[in-house]
Symmetry: C2
Subunit: 516 residues, 2 copies
C-alpha cells in the first residue's frame, strides 16, 4: 500500500469523511487515494480561501474536522486568512499539505520550494511533516487527534510527494483517543453558584459549545433563577438562537458602545470565552472593556465542558428545568421603498425557515439585520470570528456540506464577498442549497466609519477612493452567473422580499444582490 | 508630523511613488498620508493577491519597488502566493503591513491579532516592526534600501497603528544608499573567456538583468563569436525577446525534455541564474538535470552586474560589437477552425505591437503559444517565476502601471485566472490598457498530465473531478463584465483573430475568452 492510501484510509477511519481540496502535482497520489475510499467526499474549490473557509463552516456545524488538501506552501498561504478565522473560532481542521518529494526539497531554487513550515506554523496548533510512507498513516491519526482535542485545533500535516507515492506503508493506523472537553471542577461550579446568589449584577459571557442549543438552554435556566444576563462576543463562532431558545445578547462592536453595554456589571463569568476586548484600538479609547471593579472569573475554559458546567451550576442554585425561550415574532414586511439593513432583516426574518444556517460577513449591514432575526424561527448564525473578511461565502459552502437538509445562507458585504467569490462555483458544482445575499453598498463602508474614529484627518480624494467601490460597480448578477449560480438584483424592499421568499421556497444555489 | 506622514514622505523621497493597496482600519493614517504626497499613486485591489502580484509585475518592468499596503497578518497572508513568486523573481517590493496599536497587541484574543511576524517572515528577505512614530521614517528608508539591494528583495515593514497616528515624528528620513549590482571580478571574467574559447560545447544560462535587452545583446555578442548557446530557465522573471534581440532559448518544463535539451553540453556558465533543476520531482526521474560531466560555473551571481560582465567577456574574446538579432517573422493567420495554443500564438504574434508586455500563466497552453511569439516584434515576457498560479492577471496590472504607454497582455489558464480574477476590476478602475486572454480549456489541464507522470494509477471519477472545470463552466465574459471589463468569447481561430486584432488597435481594458 502506498503512503497516500494509508493516510486517506486513516483519515476516514478516524471520522474525517469530507475533503475540501485544491490540489496540485505534489498531491496527485492523495487525490487518487480519495477515490479508493468509499464514502470519502472530495469537494473542489477554485481558490484555497474557499477550501479553508468551507472547512471552517463545516466544522462549526458538524462538530468534527474536515480535511483540506492544499498545494505546497503557496497553496496553504492562500488559505491562511480563513484558517486564521477558524483558529480563532477554535474549530477542528486537518490540513493535508503536499510538499516536494524529499529528494527534491534540497533544490531550494525549484520554483515552488518555500519555507513551508514557516508558512504553515502561524495558523497551526499542531504541525508535522511526515517522514515517509511508513509514517504517513500514524501521522494522519495524530493530526486528527490533535484537531479534535477540545475545543478544536488546526492540525497541519505536510506530506512530501514521495511519502505519498512510496509503496511501503503498512496500512491504515488505529484511531487514536480524543481529548474531549475536560470536566469543570466542583470548586469552580460552587464558586459560580455562590456568586450568582450573591445579589450582584452578573453576566455570563459565553462561547463555543455554550452558545449552541444545549448550552443556551442550560444558561437560560441560570438566567431564569438568578437574573444573570447572557452575553456572547460580537464575533462568536456559532450561536443557536431564535424561537424557543433562551436569548443571548450580542456585545456591540465599538469600544464606547461596549462600555455602555457592560456598565453596571459587578461580575462577569467566563464560560468558554475570553475576557471582552475591543476589535481595534483607537486613540484615547479603551481596549480592555470590563467595567472597573467588575470581577472576572471562569466557569469553564475553552477546553472544558461548559454545557455540563452550566447545568451543574443551574442545579446548584435550584434553577428551574427550563429557562425562558425567545417567543417567535414573525416579522411583518417592511415598508416599500429603498432597501436598508433593517428592512433586509425584516424580510429575512419573515421568510427564514426553521433550522437555517446564516453565515454573516455583512460588516456594516449586519447590525440592522439582526434586529429582526433574533426573534425569528430557530437558526444558527456563524460570525466572522477572526475578523479576516471573506468568510461568509466559504463558511456557508462548508455548512451546507455538514447539514445538507438545512438552508444555508451567506450574508456578505460586497467588499468582503469579493475576496472569496469563487465559493459560488462550488455551490453550483455541488448543487448546494446555499443562498448568498450580497449587501451591495459599493464601498468598504466600515472604513469610512473607522477613518473618522481613528482620528485620521484632512483626508483627500485619493484616500477616499481606497474605500469606494463605485468605479466600476461590481455587477454581482453577472459575477454569479459567471460562476454558474442563478442571480437577481433587488433595489427595493418589495423586490428583495419577492426574491428572498422565492429563494427560501426553492432548493439550489442562488444569489441576491441587495442594492443598498 | 505623525508617523504615517513621515513614512509615506520617506517612501516617496526614496523613489517609491506607487502604492498598491487593500487597507483596513489599522492602516487608516497611512491611507490619509498617501493623499498628502503629490505624485504618490494609490491603486486599490479587491484582493491582496492582486496587490502583491501587481507589485511584482510593476517591479519587473520598472526596475524599482512599489509599496504594498496590507491589513495585518491575514491581509499579508492573502498576498503570500504572489510574494512567493516575486521573491523567486528577485524583484524589489516594500510591503507596509498595518498592525494593532502596540497597546492593543497584548490582547491576543482580539479577533485580528495573529503571529504577524510568523506570517510575514517566510516571504520577506527583510522584516521589521517599527517601534513608534519616531522610528517610522528611518525604518521606511531602511525598507526601501533592503528592497533595492541587488538583485532585489522583499522588504516588509510592520507599522502598528499608534506608530502611524502618533504626532511625534520628526519628518521624513534621508534617502539611504542602495547596494546596487556588485562588479564581477576580472578573474571570473577571464575564466569564462578562456572557457568559451576552449572549443567545448557551452551554454550561458541567464536570468535577471541578463535577459533584459542590454543583457541579451551582450550575450548575443558572445554567442556570435563563440557559438555558445544562450538559455533561460522555464519560468525566468523577464525576457526581452523578438525582432532585433538575440534569441535566448527556453529550457523545457519536464525532466526528460530538459535532459534531451541540455544533452551534449560540456560547460554551463551561470549568469545570474541558479543551476537548472526540474519544477517537480517524479518517481525515477532526475531533479538535477545538468548533464553528467558538464562543468558548471558562475560568471555572475544574482547580486552581481551580469550585463557588464557579459560585455567584458565579449570584449575579452574579441566578439563583434553586435550579435545576431532575431529576424522579424510576421506570422500568417492560422487555418480557420477550432482554436488551439498554436493558432492562438500565430494570431497573437501577427498582431502584437512592438513593446508589448506579456504576462504568462497559461500553463499547458503556454507552450504552443510561444512558437510564433519568439519571432514577433520585440516585447517583454514575464513568466510565473515562483510557480504559484494566479500570477498573470495581477502582473499585467502592475506592468501597465509601470509602462503606461505599452500594451500589457495577460495570458492565463482558466484555473489560474480564477485565483486572482479580481485583478480585472483594477484594470477597469484604472482604465488600464490591459488585455486579458483566458485559455479556457475548462480544466486544470496540467494536472491530468501530471497525474500520469507521477505514477498515480487506478484513478477514479472523484479524482478526475478534481482537475475538471466543466461542471459548471466558468463564463469568463460574464465574470469580466461583472468586474467592469468589456469581454468577448472566441471559439474559432478566425473569431480570436478578429477580437485580438481589435483589442490591439484600441486602448483600454478588455478580456477575450479563448475557448479551447
Amino acid at each position: 500500500m502506498n503512503g497516500a492510501d494509508s493516510l486517506v484510509q486513516t483519515l476516514f477511519h478516524s471520522g474525517v469523511d469530507v475533503c475540501f481540496a485544491n490540489p496540485g502535482t505534489s498531491e496527485m497520489h492523495v487525490v487518487a487515494a480519495l477515490d479508493r475510499v468509499d464514502g470519502m467526499r472530495a469537494i473542489l474549490g477554485l481558490f484555497e480561501g474557499v477550501v479553508t473557509g468551507a472547512a471552517d463552516g463545516y466544522a462549526r456545524m458538524a462538530g468534527k474536522p474536515a480535511a483540506t488538501l492544499l498545494h505546497l506552501g503557496p497553496g496553504l498561504a492562500n488559505g491562511i486568512a480563513n484558517l486564521h478565522n477558524a483558529r480563532k473560532a477554535a474549530v477542528p481542521i486537518v490540513n493535508i499539505v503536499g510538499d516536494h518529494a524529499s529528494s527534491h526539497s534540497m533544490y531550494t531554487d525549484a520554483p515552488l520550494s518555500s519555507d513551508i513550515h514557516g508558512i504553515c506554523r502561524p495558523v497551526s496548533h499542531w504541525l508535522h511533516s511526515t517522514a515517509s510512507a511508513r509514517t504517513a498513516a500514524s501521522d494522519a491519526a495524530r493530526a486528527v487527534q490533535a484537531a479534535r482535542a477540545a475545543p478544536g485545533q488546526i492540525a497541519t500535516l505536510i506530506v512530501p510527494a514521495d511519502a505519498a507515492w512510496s509503496d511501503d506503508a503498512e496500512g491504515p493506523a488505529p484511531v487514536l483517543p480524543v481529548l474531549g472537553p475536560a470536566p469543570v471542577s466542583s470548586e469552580a461550579i460552587d464558586r459560580v453558584a455562590k456568586a450568582l446568589l450573591a445579589g450582584k449584577k452578573t453576566a455570563l459571557l459565553m462561547r463555543g459549545a455554550a452558545t449552541h442549543r444545549a448550552g443556551a438552554e442550560a444558561a437560560g435556566r441560570i438566567a431564569a433563577k438568578s437574573g444573570a444576563r447572557l452575553l456572547h462576543d460580537y464575533f462568536a463562532p456559532r450561536i443557536t438562537r431564535g424561537a424557543g431558545v433562551p436569548r443571548i445578547e450580542r456585545i456591540p462592536y465599538f469600544a464606547e458602545n461596549i462600555v455602555e453595554f457592560l456598565a453596571g456589571l459587578e461580575q462577569i463569568v467566563l464560560v468558554g470565552a475570553p475576557p471582552p476586548v475591543t476589535f481595534f484600538a483607537y486613540p484615547g479609547k479603551p481596549s480592555w472593556v470590563t467595567p472597573e471593579g467588575c470581577e472576572l472569573f471562569y466557569l469553564a475554559h475553552p477546553h472544558e465542558d461548559a454545557v455540563a458546567a452550566l447545568n451543574a451550576v443551574a442545579d446548584a442554585i435550584g434553577a428551574p428545568k427550563k429557562g425562558e425561550g425567545v417567543a417567535l415574532v414573525r416579522s411583518g414586511l417592511p415598508p416599500k421603498g429603498a432597501l436598508n439593513s433593517f428592512s433586509m432583516g425584516q424580510v429575512i426574518a419573515r421568510f427564514l425557515p426553521e433550522g437555517a444556517i446564516i453565515s454573516d460577513d455583512a460588516v456594516t449591514s449586519s447590525l440592522g439585520m439582526h434586529h429582526s432575526l433574533v426573534d425569528a424561527p430557530m437558526h444558527d448564525i456563524l460570525y466572522l470570528t477572526g475578523g479576516a473578511i471573506g468568510g461568509a461565502l466559504p463558511m456557508a459552502t462548508g455548512a451546507a456540506i455538514a447539514c445538507p437538509g438545512r438552508k444555508s445562507i451567506a450574508i456578505s458585504g460586497d467588499g468582503a464577498a469579493a475576496m472569496t467569490l469563487q465559493s459560488l462555483w462550488t455551490n453550483a458544482r455541488e448543487k448546494q442549497d446555499v443562498v448568498t445575499i450580497i449587501c451591495a453598498n459599493k464601498s468598504y463602508a466600515v472604513l469610512n466609519v473607522e477613518l473618522a474614529r481613528t482620528g485620521a484627518s484632512n483626508v483627500g480624494p485619493k484616500a477616499l477612493q481606497m474605500f469606494d467601490l463605485h468605479n466600476p460597480e461590481l455587477d454581482w448578477v453577472a459575477l454569479a452567473r459567471g460562476m454558474g449560480v442563478e442571480a437577481t438584483s433587488a433595489a427595493t424592499s418589495e423586490d428583495f422580499a419577492i426574491q428572498f421568499e422565492d429563494a427560501m421556497k426553492t432548493r439550489g444555489p442562488r444569489l441576491i444582490e441587495a442594492v443598498l
